[in-house]
Subunit: 338 residues, 2 copies
């Protein structure tokens, strides 16, 4: 089969690989319908994360179940499934408390930018749609498997709710879908921080009521101006840098909540800032599995259309171009079709 | 009047100072009945905080109202009052959300280790007891003004509740009263981290079900062993160092809560630790004012006896000995009588 492999920073190739097989009785093998490039894939692409050996890429996926192990009960061959980027048993204490991405049997899921992939712990990781979805819904279902689920978790972690003012740091797909999540959760006001016209437009479409173009301390000042000097009730952080984390913390009012989902890179939070800010801080890899049933319902029912974050679609064979387009910020997010 | 002044690390003196007067219409002047030395007073005493000029010390207090400004409505001369260490208006949006220690008109309160003190924003800062309390209740009421209120906030911030396993990092007065708070809030199991027999005994009296003597990574390992490998649901941090913060974060299960109230010193939290720990982090200077009415009720009703943390009582004139006893850990907490 064909699969996307990262050999070194900037060096992504689509190559022949063995088709994966069921190895454990809890595995499933799926034939991918669509996959995509993640903002977090750009960290190694840009050399910010080490690549020790050629790495099969991709962890966002929808597909058709091809084969399941003898122990799999919840999905069967022929079903359309949406998965999450950590495999989880969905039965341990941690999963049952809603943190499937910290499951005691957690396993990474990888190699989704390919024709086929193996998904461990299939029963606790995959969610089948009721019947075969329309082709038009595929991008949105694909978004649910990571960026939507992650934006959703950020909004939950930031305790977004009716009557609240929400600010979103980061205008990538996750930040934009954080805006959508905040809107769905009833936020009164949603401030998107972005300096790109196309992303601003999508943020507004997803529910943003205000746009702030400033960053860092200037951005914080602007948020305070918009909130009577107090800061936002809820701030979603979807970047993962020191600047974005401090921007989020400082833009939050005392007693407010920061939901952070940007994969943390070289961040060291000063204790005093945290102590005197009086914010609640919560985040990490999103427990997407928790939200999949609800998100799939919202998508299939036509309530939300998160697939709009895909502004470029390419055949799998052009995966290298997909990385390039995202790296150069020519595309918000690229969908790949095997 | 006599007042305690810190001139330099290790140099605490009781000296003559002008008796404070009402300056603003919202001020009250109180005659102190009791004050005490705080764990946070030891930071400058040990040279960890700078002392730029001679500093009047003390921010924990109970007393009798001597005089009030023309605008004060809620307390009157002759009343016994308990105060908090930040003055707050108790009417702004931040106060009404429960964060009086981040009041938009917040002012520090100081100079309580003295005969008299001025309390700004008296209406929003002081709470009068119903009638004159028994002398036996004074230490507990004094504890409410900081260490109990702070331990209480740590437990609230860590979302302690029925059925939960709680760990407490720090065996000073705040940590010990965090144990008491956790017990009052219905925790199923309370693990106190302490290696001092006298503090362990008091922790058990306050409700600790387990004691862990190990610190750092060893302490974390022990907490995991006691919690099926998962970590505690709620961890209270009452020290303020890098080691204690990481100990608290690592001892908390995914999805659990850390309540941190130790005044942060040289702490820089690694973003990746926070990100992958999946904990909720919340803390800061405790909004003691929020809890005072409830705590006063519990104390006067005889439900709790937090005054037990005072294991040494000295006349104000011996304030220097009080600091020395706490610095050398010969006393958990010293009560001063003017």
């Amino acid at each position: 089969m064909r699969a996307t492999i990262m050999h070194a920073p900037g060096d992504v190739r689509v190559e022949d690989r063995d088709k994966p097989a069921v190895r454990q009785p809890t595995d499933a093998v799926i034939k991918l319908v669509a996959a995509c490039v993640c903002g977090s894939d750009l960290w190694p692409y840009r050399g910010a994360d080490k690549i020790s050996k050629p790495a099969p890429m991709g962890h966002e996926y929808v597909g058709i179940v091809e084969e399941v192990g003898a122990g799999v009960r919840n999905v069967r061959p022929g079903q359309f499934v949406v998965g999450s980027f950590f495999a989880s048993d969905n039965t341990c204490d941690i999963c049952r408390s809603g943190y499937q991405s910290a499951c005691v049997h957690r396993q990474g899921v990888g190699g989704a930018q390919a024709e086929y992939m193996r998904v461990p712990l299939a029963d606790g990781t995959l969610v089948a749609t009721p019947g075969m979805p329309d082709a038009a819904k595929v991008p949105s279902l694909l978004a649910a498997s990571d960026v939507l689920g992650t934006g959703w978790f950020a909004a939950k972690a930031a305790e977004v709710g009716p009557g609240k003012t929400v600010a979103v740091v980061g205008d990538g797909a996750v930040g934009l879908l954080g805006v959508l999540a905040a809107q769905q959760m009833g936020a009164e006001r949603i401030i998107a921080m972005s300096r790109h016209a196309d992303r601003q437009a999508l943020a507004r479409e997803f529910g943003a009521t205000d746009i702030v173009e400033e960053r860092g301390d200037e951005g914080v000042k602007k948020i305070k101006e918009l909130t009577g000097g107090l800061g936002a009730h809820s701030v979603l952080e979807a970047v993962g840098t020191q600047e974005s984390m401090l921007q989020a913390i400082h833009a939050t009012r005392a007693g407010g909540h920061v939901g952070f989902v940007g994969v943390s890179h070289d961040v060291a939070l000063p204790g005093r800032d945290l102590f005197y800010s009086h914010v609640h801080l919560h985040g990490g890899p999103a427990p997407v599995r928790q939200y999949l049933p609800e998100l799939i319902d919202l998508i299939l029912g036509g309530t939300i259309n998160p697939g709009k974050v895909f502004d470029l679609e390419l055949p799998l064979e052009q995966a290298a171009d997909a990385y390039k387009a995202m790296d150069e910020r020519r595309a918000i997010k690229v969908l790949l079709r095997p």
